[in-house]
């Protein structure tokens, strides 16, 4: 190799000498054909420029020539699309050079082809979902409800009816808002089947709460138990049961007339509590 280089070097030197010599001869002529001298000078200039281009050509075109060989995987058909502008092409060229250097320094990449649908190697590759394409972006899992809204809802739940939360208490809700609502929420709601289930459950709960007084009372009791506001309210169902049973007794009593009334003559006058309706007046 060294000999070859030497031989090539020897060839180059006479060419330089010849061109320089020709230039010297032409310019040293005091008189003669000025056009011929200019032609020689122009030829020398063209020759030197060609030599310069020949020397620079391999270095300038090497990234483009080496790209397909060194980077067969980036493009499916093996060809690299031509960039639109020269700045873009220089950017891509620099990046390709950097990629080559990285491959040379750190080794070839894993057999994975960098296609958007492929999964990355690593411990988490099997644990995550399918990858997105370059133009397709999944909606954010986080903050599907604004954090402030979640915070306000939680503050309303935890503050009960009247007592507002202190700033410290409100701050303590942060793990709940961030971790539970924003992270566990999307996980529970992420699957379409689960989402349908939760929507159905929510609709049915609202339906039961609206239609059934006992259901509404149960939900109210659960909310009171969770928030811890007023233990008297927890015992409320018992009181309500008493209240419910009492009118039954009163109704029974009302159904049997008092002893004193049984002996007194019945009044024909209309009373609202008599249970009879006022007959409609005929025209």
């Amino acid at each position: 190799m060294a000999q070859k280089k030497r031989r090539g070097h020897k060839k180059a030197i006479p060419a330089k000498v010849r061109t320089n010599g020709a230039a010297q001869v032409d310019t040293a002529k005091p008189s003669g054909d000025p056009l011929a001298g200019a032609e020689n000078l122009a030829n020398d200039l063209v020759g030197s420029v060609r030599n310069m281009i020949k020397k620079k050509e391999p270095s300038s075109s090497s990234p483009e020539q080496q790209q397909p060989g060194s980077q067969p995987s980036p493009v499916e058909d093996g060809s690299i699309p031509s960039p639109k502008t020269s700045s873009e092409s220089s950017d891509v060229r620099e990046l390709a050079q950097t990629v080559e250097q990285i491959h040379a320094k750190f080794g070839a990449p894993a057999p994975e082809n960098p296609t958007p649908g492929a999964s990355a190697p690593g411990p988490e590759a099997n644990q995550r979902g399918p990858d997105i394409g370059p133009g397709v972006v999944e909606p954010p899992d986080h903050d599907f409800i604004p954090r402030e809204t979640v915070r306000e809802i939680l503050e309303l739940i935890f503050s009960g009816t009247g007592k507002a939360l202190t700033p410290n208490e409100s701050r303590s809700l942060t793990p709940l808002t961030v971790d539970m609502s924003n992270e566990q929420g999307p996980r529970l709601m992420g699957n379409s089947e689960s989402r349908a289930f939760w929507i159905w459950l929510g609709v049915m709960t609202v339906f039961i709460a609206v239609r059934s007084e006992r259901g509404a009372r149960l939900i109210e009791w659960i909310c009171d138990a969770v928030t811890g506001t007023g233990k008297s309210k927890v015992e409320k169902p018992k009181e309500e049961n008493k209240a419910e049973s009492k009118p039954v007794v009163d109704a029974k009593k009302a159904s049997t007339q008092p002893v004193a009334d049984s002996t007194s003559p019945a009044s024909l006058a209309f009373k609202e509590d008599s249970g009879f309706q006022v007959p409609a007046k005929q025209p």
Binding site: Q71, S73, P74, V75, I80, P81, D91, V92, E94, L95, A96, T98, V99, Q101, I102, H103, K105, F106, G107, A108, P109, A110, E112, P114, P116, A120, P121, G122, P123, E124, A125, Q127, R128, G129, D131, I132, P134, G135, V137, E138, P140, D141, H142, D143, R147, N168, R171, T174, V178, E183, P186
Partner: protein, 193 residues
């Protein structure tokens, strides 16, 4: 809070230094929509392909795995890739791993000081303010400062991060998850995620 900042950007590359981000680990912060890469050569291929095909969105989280290679070398290679890729948000977690209070690698210095040339936005986090390069502290346009108690940390922030004195007075007593947000124009306010 970090995700709020990352999400609007079309092209994001995360250098997951400590492995905090991931969609599978029990103590990992999830990053939906990100592609996780653990090999520097694979990362290079992905970025080259994204550049060639003009992907409208690039979201990559690169986690360097432990190996015989010097982590600093890997970081410098990633910085070179990011600079050549251009027009991207580059997020470095725990950046003090790759710098001292007075020096940074050349590649990182380029990103810090010549980011406009590459169309870059550099985001970083650090637990210890005194270990962060003072150049980075001084050129950062926006800053979130959590609770700091050590005098050296406070001094680093006071001298280099352009935090006003009245805001600095609150730094040692900030509650958990509260940050002083210093804006580019020097104004500030207390924020919590």
């Amino acid at each position: 809070m970090i995700l709020e900042k990352l999400w609007p950007a079309a092209k994001v590359i995360i250098f997951n230094t400590a492995g905090d981000f991931g969609n599978g680990g029990p103590r990992q912060k999830p990053l939906p929509g990100f592609h996780f890469i653990f090999d520097i050569s694979t990362l290079a291929d992905w970025l080259l392909k994204a550049k060639l095909e003009n992907w409208p969105r690039v979201r990559i989280c690169f986690t360097p795995l432990r190996s015989n290679v010097d982590p600093l070398e890997i970081f410098r290679a990633v910085c070179r890739l990011v600079a050549d890729f251009g027009d991207v948000l580059f997020f470095v977690d725990e950046i003090w791993n790759f710098q001292t209070s007075s020096s940074s690698p050349y590649e990182l210095r380029e990103l810090m000081l010549q980011w406009r040339h590459y169309g870059l936005c550099l985001m970083w986090t650090a637990q210890i303010a005194q270990k962060v390069d003072k150049t980075l502290l001084s050129v950062s346009t926006e800053m979130y400062v959590g609770r700091l108690n050590l005098e050296n940390d406070l001094e680093a922030v006071r001298r280099n991060a352009r935090i006003p004195e009245d805001a600095l007075a609150q730094v040692p007593n900030l509650p958990d998850w509260c940050f002083i947000h210093r804006f580019e124009n020097g104004s500030w306010k207390v924020e919590r995620p």
